[in-house]
């Protein structure tokens, strides 16, 4: 989550769910909190009970809206305008929390004189390298074909801060210098006016003002406002910048690191946080350490460490974590002499995330496919393309607890199994109740769960699968002398279960795995008590530094802790880092270390004990006094003063302006989604110039603004259902027995659709049929020039397997993604709708004999697939 990472320092929610009850105002935007996170929502209702104002901003009136004090409709895909206009309002009316802003953010930093804003460049920032323009095509004409977009990038050198000769940042604490971040921000958002909110978002002005007033009135020394979002903000081609806009606003309002404040990023699947922590993404190692890449100067350990070690702030410790990780990976084989086996690591050659890899598969460049605990043929986009890509595989391994649309892709409507050559393997997976282990929840908190029942039939845990696979591979190469097999042979793999029965079954010990993640002293084998003990000299091993401290000795597993209280519950589970529940909580005290107010007391400096104290683990060096000055030119934490709360950042402050780390700009700018119903009202630049798209005949786009697809389509989940496993449960199936879409009564009349009728939704990709649920909860919006916008809501969790069934939304969504995190665009689309059922699906693309090579506009192959060395 680089939106949060670049702004605050870590890519996780800044706060925890239980803290929401202390908020005086909660802005829920980009999430259907009550429906998708019902248990966490109890703390929202608690806040409401205590008098907090709950605001829900969403294209649809949902169960969350029903519980909110204020529901604010907006057109999907326009949150930057909405939030940007609030930022503008706050700045114009000087309603920011000035003391906080000056002390804890980079508002006072001066930006390079060469920086040019979207104001000057009509929607682009300085440093734009438009490869496509170089090859003679305008940005607009690119839309037609090719797919070259996304290859153009920004050169970020003009986005940098000015520095004093001693290396410290140049600042203007009066915030009046025209080149200071505060003034740049003011100019940048000046065109984000209430009028724009009406014209672009379709949100009535009075509602907008009520939101502004509520936020400002509840953000001060005495009061705090919390934001909560989820994938309503992320699944956009500008998703990261949505979150950036929220981060800027929360910094201006002085709410980050304070009780009842912060940004609650609601994570999805039970362990999605853990999955990114320890680390399923192709470009990250555990603890968010980057995988070396040929696109960066990272070909030797020294070069890699140089690129990634930050001179100032906590990340100055980078080598300790990385080398300890290599020691955990390769054990005794990793020595200072061989750069701790750095050469064993793979080097990235490009974007190997899901979407590019799927295209590569479709184009015949990927021959085998492991799908473990995922159901891309339903939850992916352009699911026919995904399935057609799978038709071309040589082999396919599926590990799942249920038969689903992916495991049986060859049975899909219109497919001809006889012509599909893919060899398929299905390995039954044990469900969460049938195995033990930890799950890391949205609070960054690890919780251990026991095995409740024996796995059904031949099912095995996912850990078993990887453990046994590793063991088999090691055995296979045991006698090899080929140096290229060394990484496999040197890999530490000692997770044998102490429990006799489990050992016979082949199940590894998840406790031992966690102990290795926690880290230990190489010499003695003693567990590390926290990541502060990590060394960069090979004397410590630590598999995932952020989790360090979870198993501080050989017996303890703090994720098993089950002593809770009404608030921070420090003895319940273990939250990374170092069991802190709220990040950046130093900011809950003023620069002098005193609580901002009695009411909002959380962590403060205890003068007598000379340490930080409070109800949480301080997210700050424990004994560093508030008055400690920054040491100019010093490295690491010494470069920060005792009043710089954002310890992961170079300057110790919250980043309103982000100089590096983002591909689409240092500040958020509104771009329309890939497909929209309106031209961008703010800039000439229609959509995110850096978004990635694949405009090809098997992935056609509706076009920027196409009158054939006049309605906004958005997809989301509903409480009653989740993945395919919920569709197999009769009790859940009866609650939502069939796929449906939600439309407003006006559109229903226009289209001759009656409540409960079948409706067919179509895009350039294809069409699906679902039942129509006509409801006044959906409301048409009026935007610029009196244009009437109808939004159609489409729950995405349906498929063909299970008692409840229906077409999946993925059948009508083309593949496209954002530049920063490669997330798909599933929240804002365009479509058409008609009454009646769709045509049966006929012969499908599997018959295409020749894979369609993906080419950029100038005919050059794109860097993915074969070129990228997948």
């Amino acid at each position: 989550m680089p939106g949060l990472g670049t702004s605050f320092g870590r890519g996780g929610a800044t706060t925890f769910l239980q803290d929401l009850q202390n908020a005086d105002c909660i802005l829920i935007e980009g999430s259907n909190f009550a429906e998708a996170h019902p248990v966490g929502f109890r703390f929202v209702t608690k806040a409401k009970e205590r008098g907090a104002k709950i605001i829900h901003v969403d294209p649809r009136f949902t169960r969350t809206s029903a519980l909110a004090d204020l529901y604010v409709p907006l057109r999907s895909g326009t949150d930057i305008v909405f939030l940007g206009a609030i930022i503008n309002w706050v700045l114009q009316n000087e309603r920011d929390f000035r003391e906080y802003v000056v002390a804890y953010t980079n508002a006072s930093s001066l930006v390079s004189a060469d920086f040019r804003d979207t104001e000057d460049l009509d929607g682009l920032f300085s440093g734009w390298n438009d490869f496509a323009r170089d090859s003679g095509a305008s940005a607009m004409a690119q839309q037609g074909a090719g797919g070259g977009r996304g290859e153009s990038t920004y050169d970020t050198s003009t986005w940098q801060f000015e520095r004093n000769p001693d290396g410290t940042l140049r600042r203007d604490e009066t915030l009046t210098d025209p080149r200071c971040v505060y003034q740049i921000l003011k100019r940048h958002f000046s065109r984000y006016t209430p009028r724009m909110v009406e014209d672009v978002c379709g949100t009535p002005r009075e509602l907008f003002f009520e939101v502004c007033e509520s936020l400002a009135a509840n953000s001060c020394r005495e009061r705090t406002t919390a934001f909560a979002y989820a994938v309503g903000w992320t699944q956009h081609t500008v998703g990261v910048q949505y979150i950036r806009t929220a981060a800027i606003l929360q910094l201006l309002l002085g709410n980050v690191g304070r009780p009842g404040g912060g940004i609650m990023a609601l994570r999805g699947h039970a362990d999605i946080q853990g999955a990114t922590d320890i680390a399923t993404l192709y470009d990250l190692f555990p603890g968010y350490l980057p995988v070396p890449s040929i696109q960066r100067d990272e070909q030797t350990l020294a070069a890699y460490l140089k690129t990634n070690t930050k001179p100032t702030g906590w990340w100055n410790n980078f080598p300790k974590y990385f080398i300890s990780m290599l020691k955990a990976f390769f054990g005794d084989a990793a020595t200072a002499g061989n750069d701790y086996c750095f050469d064993y690591l793979p080097q990235l050659t490009g974007d190997h995330s899901t979407i590019p890899t799927t295209f590569a598969m479709k184009d015949g460049e990927v021959k085998g496919y492991f799908v473990i605990g995922q159901n891309p043929v339903t939850s992916g986009q352009n699911t026919e393309l995904i399935a057609a890509a799978m038709d071309r595989l040589e082999w396919f391994v599926n590990v799942d607890a249920y038969e689903n649309e992916t495991s049986s892709f060859w049975k899909r409507e219109g497919a001809q199994p006889g012509q599909i050559g893919t060899e398929c393997f299905f390995i039954p997976a044990a469900t969460i109740l049938e195995k033990e282990g930890t799950v890391t929840n949205t609070n960054r908190m690890l919780q251990f769960h026991e095995k409740a029942v024996e796995p059904a039939g031949e099912a095995v845990s996912d850990a078993w699968l990887f453990y046994q696979l590793g063991k088999k591979l090691k055995a296979l190469y045991a006698n090899s002398t080929d140096p290229k097999d060394r990484p496999l042979l040197d890999l530490t793999w000692d997770y044998e279960n102490d429990d006799e029965r489990e050992r016979l079954r082949g199940e590894p010990s998840v406790f031992k795995i966690m102990q290795e993640i926690n880290g230990f002293q190489v010499a003695t084998g003693a567990q590390l008590t926290g990541f502060a003990e990590c060394k960069d000299d090979g004397s410590t091993a630590c598999g995932g530094w952020i989790y360090s401290g979870v198993c501080p000795d050989k017996q303890t597993h703090r994720a098993r802790n089950r002593r809770g209280d009404e608030y921070t519950s420090l003895d319940w589970g273990f939250a990374w880092p170092a069991n802190r529940r709220m990040l950046y909580n130093r900011a809950s005290a003023d620069p002098a270390g005193r609580p901002w107010s009695e009411r909002k007391k959380y962590v403060w400096w205890d003068e007598s004990a000379q340490k930080w104290t409070g109800v949480d683990v301080p997210d700050f060096p424990a004994n560093k006094a508030p008055s400690t000055p920054a040491k100019p030119g010093a490295a690491g934490m010494d470069a920060h003063s005792g009043a710089d709360p954002f310890i992961m950042q170079l300057d110790g402050r919250g980043q309103i302006f982000v100089a590096s780390g983002l591909k689409d700009g240092p500040l958020p700018a509104h771009y329309e989604p890939l497909a929209s119903v309106i031209q961008n009202q703010l800039y000439k630049q229609q959509n995110n110039p850096t978004l990635r798209e694949w405009d090809r005949s098997d992935n056609p786009y509706n076009g920027q603004v196409n009158p054939r697809y006049p309605y906004v389509l958005t997809t989301y989940r509903i409480t009653e259902l989740s993945g395919v496993y919920t569709r197999y449960i009769p009790w859940l199936a009866e609650l939502q027995p069939e796929a449906f879409c939600e439309i407003d009564p006006e559109l229903a009349v226009e289209k001759g659709l009656k409540n409960g009728d079948y409706a067919t939704i179509s895009t350039a990709v294809g069409e699906i049929e679902v039942r129509a649920l006509v409801s006044g909860r959906m409301r048409p919006l009026r935007i610029a020039k009196g244009q009437r916008v109808h939004q159609i809501g489409l729950p995405y969790i349906f498929g063909n397997f299970g008692y409840t069934s229906g077409d999946t939304s993925g059948d009508v969504i083309p593949l496209a993604m954002d530049p920063n995190v490669s997330i798909h665009e599933a929240k804002t689309l365009t479509c058409d709708i008609r009454a009646g059922r769709r045509a049966p699906r006929g012969r499908v693309a599997q018959d295409d004999a020749v894979p369609e090579p993906e080419r950029s506009r100038d005919g050059q192959p794109l860097i993915h697939g074969r070129e990228a060395g997948v």
């Binding site: 009550a34 429906e35 019902p38 248990v39 929502f41 109890r42 209702t45 009136f61 169960r63 969350t64 809206s65 029903a66 519980l67 529901y71 509903i718 409480t719 009653e720 197999y728 009769p730 009790w731 859940l732 199936a733 009866e734 609650l735 939502q736 027995p737 069939e738 449906f740 407003d744 009564p745 006006e746 409540n755 409960g756 039942r771 129509a772 649920l773 006509v774 409801s775 006044g776 909860r777 409301r779 063909n800 397997f801 299970g802 008692y803 409840t804 069934s805």
Partner: protein, 280 residues
């Protein structure tokens, strides 16, 4: 004093966890798969095999089609002070248990069905066998196996008897909170001693009214013949919006008039008969 529920609709998020938890704990079958188009309510009513039901009331501003309120309410057997079902039951299957709740003893019930029309809230119903039609199964293109197995299993133990909320008699005896209340994430369903709950509810109404919410209690200080409800509700709209009768009537109150009328008719006819047969 009795144990019961205070269901606060202002806290309900319509997650249906209560409905599912109830079915799971009591091993009740699914009632079938029908898309109703009626808001998010596809089960529509309490039944012999649905003992909690979450209603979705979509209200709107007068004169527009825009919905501005969406009230969710988890309905359940009211465990009435004067329970129509219990009075009607000829076998004594329905009792008031040691927790003050109205409980159907499944081994005593003989399926006569008299409790069904005798409940002024339309709660209790007979459990009828669920037969998924072949056409339905094909339409949903799913294996119906689990569903059938589930319903069969339940029917073997409950078949052809009346079913309604037991107020988790079995759980209460073990000292557990009823499954629905336990599952409710927002404490919309609160379980406990009814007097305590009433006190809490009155305070809650006061606080809501201070905030300008038009809250009222349903089933507390009842002047109707059913008396106070041991499962009572906090509503923000007229009861009919939630499919609740504003003035429920205890059916047995009709009996004296009925017996009198019958006796009168019989007496009159007997006199006539005596005249006719004696008159010779």
């Amino acid at each position: 004093m009795a144990n019961g529920f205070f269901t606060d609709t202002t806290l309900c998020i319509g997650c249906k966890a209560c409905e599912v938890a109830c079915k799971q704990w009591n091993e009740l079958p699914s009632d079938g798969l029908a898309f109703t188009g009626m808001s998010y309510d596809n089960t529509l009513r309490l039944s012999g095999t649905t003992w909690r039901h979450v209603a979705f009331v979509e209200d709107r501003e007068v004169g527009t089609t825009i919905v501005n309120r969406w009230s969710m309410m988890s309905d359940v057997c009211k465990h009435c002070t004067h329970a129509g079902c219990m009075e009607a039951c000829p076998t004594g299957a329905i009792i008031r248990n040691e927790f003050g709740d109205v409980y159907i003893q499944p081994d005593v019930c003989n399926g006569c069905g008299y409790c069904v029309p005798s409940c002024p809230f339309g709660v209790v119903d007979l459990i009828e066998p669920f037969k998924p039609s072949a056409a339905k199964a094909a339409e949903y293109n799913t294996a119906t196996l689990d569903r059938e197995r589930l319903s069969e299993g339940a029917l073997q133990s409950h078949g052809g008897i009346a079913g309604k909320c037991t107020l988790c008699y079995d759980r209460q005896r073990l000292g557990f909170t009823p499954a629905c209340a336990k599952a409710c994430p927002t404490e919309s369903i609160q379980f406990g001693n009814v007097d305590d709950l009433k006190a809490r509810a009155r305070k809650r109404v006061e606080r809501l009214r201070e905030r300008g919410v038009d809250a009222q209690l349903y089933g507390v200080d009842e002047t109707t013949s059913v008396g106070d409800l041991n499962a009572f509700f906090l509503l923000t709209q007229p009861p009919e919006h939630y499919n609740l009768p504003a003035r429920p009537v205890l059916p047995s109150t009709h009996q004296p008039a009925g017996y009198a009328a019958a006796a009168l008719a019989a007496a009159a006819l007997a006199v006539a008969g005596l005249a006719i047969f004696r008159g010779r």
